[in-house]
Subunit: 337 residues, 2 copies
DNA sequence: CAACGTTGTTTCAACGTTGTAAACAGATCC
DNA sequence: GGATCTGTTTACAACGTTGAAACAACGTTG
């Protein structure tokens, strides 16, 4: 085994606890001993044994962030923000990919009981409200995203319905009338698409416009491209498309441009997520930008509240901000953001 | 805190150690007590405290797998195999993305000293042999990939030079004479490209053929597409291209097809990595398939050897197998694999 | 029947850390 | 000179676990 407090104490000629005090920055240590200890510390290159510390403190200092997929840019970007927000609490984040599988989601939650992690931030896909409610552990848990509202745990998300309505309104505001929605899903695993569809429908209905809906299986570029091709093949192709996320929009954009049509002149295009790629596409992509940093911070704060104040309290529902970012794909090339 | 052995022991009316014995499947426990204990165990839903166990055993049961990027399909696929191989040792794998940054690579190695992980499987990019050799910790470390050979730690990789030569020979064997290499890098961070370039050069020289080399910055689809466009624009475009990985090849394929040329009739195309996408592209992609499962298993085995037998021993160099997988992109559509 | 082995169970100590409380030294006060 | 306070340091115990050793009960052997 490595160097322990005992070894350092022996070398410095003080008690183990004094070394511990120095390591933890305890105030009342005389400059002389502090110097002495610090010399011994660096001489032996002491590193605290985290297992021992965790055992003593009853906490691991690790939280899990469980997401359905990491290769989706939105989740990858969100991860960064969570890691940063957690770092401020001196927490380490382990990221788990669930693939949306029930078994994996369960296993992540078990991590709390196994004392592997102190808490979990979960973007649930398969696991149900009932099962979450049935869990007896006092697990600190924050739910993320659109799948579960008013569940048995703290929850943070943007207002998807309103966001979708805003984008749709924006497209209608450009004078477009044949505004299509791209990204509906009939496999109801995702909680996202019904909400965004609802927002779209609200806006269209409010303006007395007919709805055109293209379905996809998954939120990926390729699916966006294929679905867009179907829309183009219709007798009356749309003059604007609201894609339920940016990846779909980028796929759709490729199809439109490949067909010799122009964005936004022939078809205006908007997405949702504000991923990096959309800022550098040609044309750049209008989108809804969830405040990812805020989202992450809220999730971490909710977790901390549960961990600190053992105070149970009812689950909290929090909305994160978002803003509509108008770029070239709805404003014409060369337009200023 | 949760349920401890003590709680279970109290309920079952036995000693703490007996409960521990049952939990760990120790042989000499009478059926009667075992049943009694197991009832108490499940009644209280006991979960061992890993911090305590780790402290006692001096091991964490966790290893780190540190890769430059996870969104590259090759690394993503490799991760799976490492996780599986580690699971057989009852090890948990935490995956760290280093982005090839020196600081992150160092931090991963520090994980060993912090008792966060028992060992590390690292695909090094920035860290140098000298620094690795200078590390005083007895860290169990296995290096992966092409960057460092004959370093101060165990190492496993495929024979890149030979693999590259084999592919090139295959292309030449098709009767092609203007065989280009796509994927050279002048920023020498990657250890991969010089090796693959050397293999290509060996084969070309052996057949007295002139070399054509296209450079890229990173191994991504888009770069492959752009580099291929440059090759096509040359006065004498190639009739075969060996791309240094599959992503580059898939990018190149898009460019070729978009230019109205046929694969493999006009230009034969081969990659290296055998990623999923290449099996479903049109045409399917000829490639070198490193035995990823074997690669992963060897890495894990090397690590285990270091952890079990404290026996130091000199660093070991191991070569993993690979095979040339001929698909449509060099064998004509409809050809059998 | 004493010595010995086997099986089942327990006691003890230790892994490295930190909170609590107490001990200690020195300064200040009356 | 004793009491009190402040600042610094220490002894102790405990977190939950498991290896080593001890122990008890029982059967086997010479």
């Amino acid at each position: 085994m490595g160097v322990s407090l005992r070894d350092v104490a022996l070398l410095a000629g003080v008690s183990v606890k004094t070394v511990s005090n120095v390591v933890n920055g305890y105030a009342h240590v005389s400059p002389a001993t502090r110097a002495k200890v610090e010399r011994a510390l660096s001489q032996l290159d002491y590193r605290p044994n985290l297992s021992a510390r965790n055992l003593r403190l009853g906490r691991t200092g690790v939280i899990a962030l469980a997401l359905p997929e990491l290769d989706a840019p939105y989740f990858a970007e969100l991860s960064r923000f969570v890691i940063d927000a957690a770092a401020e609490q001196k927490w380490i984040v382990v990221i788990e990919q669930t693939d949306g599988s029930l078994e994996r989601e369960r296993r992540v939650l078990d991590g709390v009981r196994d004392h592997r992690v102190d808490g979990v931030i979960l973007s649930p896909v398969s696991i149900g409200i009932e099962e979450l409610a049935a869990r007896t552990d006092d697990a600190a848990l924050v739910l993320l995203g659109e799948r579960i509202y008013d569940g048995p745990a703290d929850h943070v998300a943007i207002d998807n319905v309103r966001a979708a309505r805003d984008v749709t309104e924006h497209l209608i505001g450009l004078g477009r009338r044949r505004v299509a929605a791209l990204g509906a899903q009939d496999n109801s695993v995702s909680g996202t698409s019904p909400l965004r569809l609802a927002g779209y429908a609200e806006a269209m209905t409010a303006h007395g416009l007919p709805q055109t809906i293209a379905e996809v299986e998954r939120y990926r570029r390729a699916e966006g491209a294929v679905a867009m091709a179907r829309l183009l093949a219709a007798p009356e192709p749309p003059d604007a498309v609201f894609c339920f996320n940016d990846l779909l929009a980028l796929g759709a954009m490729r199809t439109i441009l490949a067909a010799g049509l122009r964005v936004p002149e022939d078809i205006a295009l908007a997405g949702l997520d504000d991923i990096e790629d959309g800022r550098y596409s040609t044309p750049t992509l209008t989108t809804v930008a969830p405040d990812k940093a805020q989202l992450a911070r809220i999730a971490v704060d909710l977790l901390r509240a549960r961990l600190d104040g053992r105070a149970a309290g009812p689950p909290r529902e929090v909305r994160a901000d978002y803003r509509l970012v108008v770029r070239e794909s709805t404003a014409g090339r060369g337009a200023v953001r």
